[in-house]
């Protein structure tokens, strides 16, 4: 662990750690059967808002368990508990109700059913730099921002130097915030929010801002707060972020809690649903209709699929295992110098190119360029992959088969497939690294 320049924190960390054993598992946040309905139609939603206000004012509103026209349950009977010092991740796809739940916990909006009980100060890291005025200086904005978050002037005075130091603003603290770079403003916002000494911290995808150095600093700060027995609820659709910070997680799908418990188990379920869910049948193999003689270039691709280590055709290869990528084709006339190019991209995110394989670049065993001379008949061009390096996830392959490097015989775009998790590695790994654990006594 990298400790922040803050000297006192480590001592307190230890002090608190000693206390920890004496305390029972104290619940400081209880979410009990929370439901919330939303309306997708704006005009109607405004109208419902007015009638809700009216029924609340007359005191008639007690429960509202029935959906009105065009309404849906954004949250449906969600319950969980947060103990002191626990970090809990809320995971789910966009629109699964994570942020809504966070807003109910923060007391911003009222639930329609159920109740939330909170003990202590809740700090939402939902809005970094709320109330920042671009014209005012960083100093003035720290005071407004932190008082919006509930600190008194005296408390802000006490924290001020630490905030400035953490945000790495330096002399720019007396310049207007509009002259700051977006990174500086975000740092100032995070620093102000994190120094409000909350008991429960709600984090909503905010750590996506700033450069990687600052991100590391933020994570270290969160770690330090964990040591001080602060509790967290972290919202993300990235299982990686959740896995690094949280020990338990709740998986939401369309507003309902699908699963809750130990982080890795929950993430496993989430990723399996995400990647291998309903679409799995169409993934991992592709076959092509036969071509007429006029259409044919001499080599017709019949199918694309994987074979496992036993040579059996499979849909989803397992990360780290011996795998063959198979291009089955029919050759109509003798073709010499056939080569193939394979590019693999991730299907999510920025769809970066992860792997680019070229048969003429040289082979693992021989080190020589590989060209195939094919006679008429059925063939399988295979790529043998001893340890499939890609981690759990969805990928897409582009393939081009050429004669003499240039003449295009066949081309396939976006052959999609999923890779299953290797039991040896957790899903937080982005790729598989062959490894073994050793112990050497010296």
């Amino acid at each position: 662990m990298i400790v922040d320049a803050d000297n006192g924190s480590n001592i307190v960390g230890k002090f608190e750690a000693d206390v920890r054993q004496d305390e029972t598992d104290e619940v400081i946040l209880a979410v009990e059967g929370i439901s919330k309905k939303f309306c997708r139609d704006l005009k109607r939603s405004l109208f419902y808002g007015m009638s809700d206000i009216a029924s609340d004012l007359t005191g008639l509103r007690t429960k509202s368990d029935r959906l009105r026209t065009k309404e849906f349950w954004a949250l449906d009977n969600v319950s969980f508990e947060l103990k002191k010092g626990e970090a809990l991740g809320l995971i789910g796809k966009n629109g699964s109700g994570k942020s809504t739940l966070l807003r109910i916990i923060a007391g911003l909006i009222k639930p329609d059913l159920g109740r939330v009980r909170v003990k202590g100060r809740v700090a939402p890291l939902i809005a970094l730099g709320a109330g920042f005025s671009p014209i005012l200086t960083g100093r003035e904005n720290i005071y407004t921002n932190m008082s919006i978050l509930g600190l008194s002037k005296r408390e802000i005075d006490a924290q001020f130097d630490r905030v400035v130091e953490f945000a790495e603003i330096g002399e720019a603290i007396d310049s207007p915030v509009q002259t700051y770079s977006s990174g500086m403003a975000a740092r100032l916002g995070f620093a102000s929010a994190i120094h409000t000494e909350p008991d429960i911290i709600l984090i909503d995808e905010v750590l996506a801002v700033g450069d990687s150095k600052f991100k590391t600093k933020c994570y270290n700060k969160l770690h330090e707060l964990r040591q001080k027995r602060k509790s967290f609820i972290m919202v993300s659709h990235s299982s990686h972020a959740i896995a690094t910070v949280c020990e338990s997680a709740v998986y939401l799908q369309k507003g309902s809690k699908v699963m809750g418990g130990e982080t890795l188990a929950v993430i496993d379920r989430y990723e399996n649903d995400l990647f291998l869910g309903k679409a799995s049948k169409s993934l991992g193999s592709m076959s092509f209709p036969a071509k007429s003689a006029a259409e044919s270039t001499g080599l017709d691709l019949q199918a694309l699929f994987f074979r496992d280590k036993h040579g059996e055709a499979i849909d989803s290869p397992i990360s780290g295992e011996l795998t063959y990528l198979v291009m089955a084709c029919i050759v109509r006339e003798p073709i010499s110098e056939v080569s193939a190019v394979v590019g693999i991209r991730e299907l999510s995110g920025e769809s970066r190119l992860l792997v680019y394989l070229n048969s003429w670049d040289g082979d693992r065993q021989s080190g020589q360029s590989k060209y195939f001379d094919l006679s008429p008949g059925r063939h399988e061009i295979q790529i043998e992959i001893p340890n499939l390096g890609l981690g759990l996830g969805l990928y897409t392959i582009n393939i081009a088969i050429r004669r003499s490097k240039l003449y295009l015989l066949e081309k396939v775009d976006s052959f999609k497939f999923a890779i299953k998790k290797n039991p040896q590695q957790t899903s937080s790994s982005m790729f598989f690294m062959p490894h073994s654990w050793k112990h050497v006594e010296k």
């Binding site: 004012l57 509103r61 109330g131």
Partner: protein
Amino acid sequence: MNRLKKPAQNRNAEAAWVSHTPESQIRHPRLLIRQMFRDLLASRELAWQLLVRDIRAKYRQSFLGIFWAIIPAIVTAVGFSIAKSGGVISLGETDLPYPAYVMFSMTLWQTFVEALQAPIQGVTQAKAMLAKINFPREALILAKLGQVLFNFGIKLMLIVGLFIWFKMPVTMSVILAPVALIHLIMLGTFFGLLLAPIGVLYQDLAMGLTLATGLWLFITPVVYPVPNEGLFGAVVKFNPVTPLLVTTRELATTGAVSDPQGFWWASALAFCGLLVTWVFYRIAMPYVVERVSS
């Protein structure tokens, strides 16, 4: 050392459970009122910070600065004085020199309008903050009212200048004038607070309000003396702004209050209305926040 003390303090502070339930707060009036005053107290410091922020931000980006607070009153007074002396419009005789009458009344009217717009502006400007942070909602209103008072403070310079220039009489009753002024501000806040939550949801309100205040000015004795006859006189008299504005003006100058009964009725309306709309504001805000994108 300081840090070692902190956990103990926190432990005291966090002893209470707070719960968020769908139940209507109206059903627990005693708790509601206790929470209202607790939040009002708790929001003092935040309101002050917001006030300082708004005033600084406002004047740092302006060349004429505080003069903007008094320019409209001067322009109106000059305009109406020219129109009146040229015989374009015929208005009754005022007990004060006409330009002073208009300028002073206009300043009071402006203060009322500012108080009326304060909650709506405060809530609309803080939309993003409201959607993300749970702070005492009263702070927004207090900060805006602070700004109204600040602006009035600047206008006071104009008024003092007027009194000296026109050698206007001042009686001891001037001490009571601020009380009447506060009632006037409270009346404005009452209407504003009633409209603020709806104003965030429906844009129509902000547009309609500008129109309405324009019309309202015509049935308030600002550029003309209080009419006593006819339907128009009745309308002006029925307007709750009239007794408050007129009483403030009378207390500050002649000291002879012409309609004390009307003043008390309007004050009672402002007081009770403000309390009721405060409850309305608190209850309505979560539903408004729900419909503001975060």
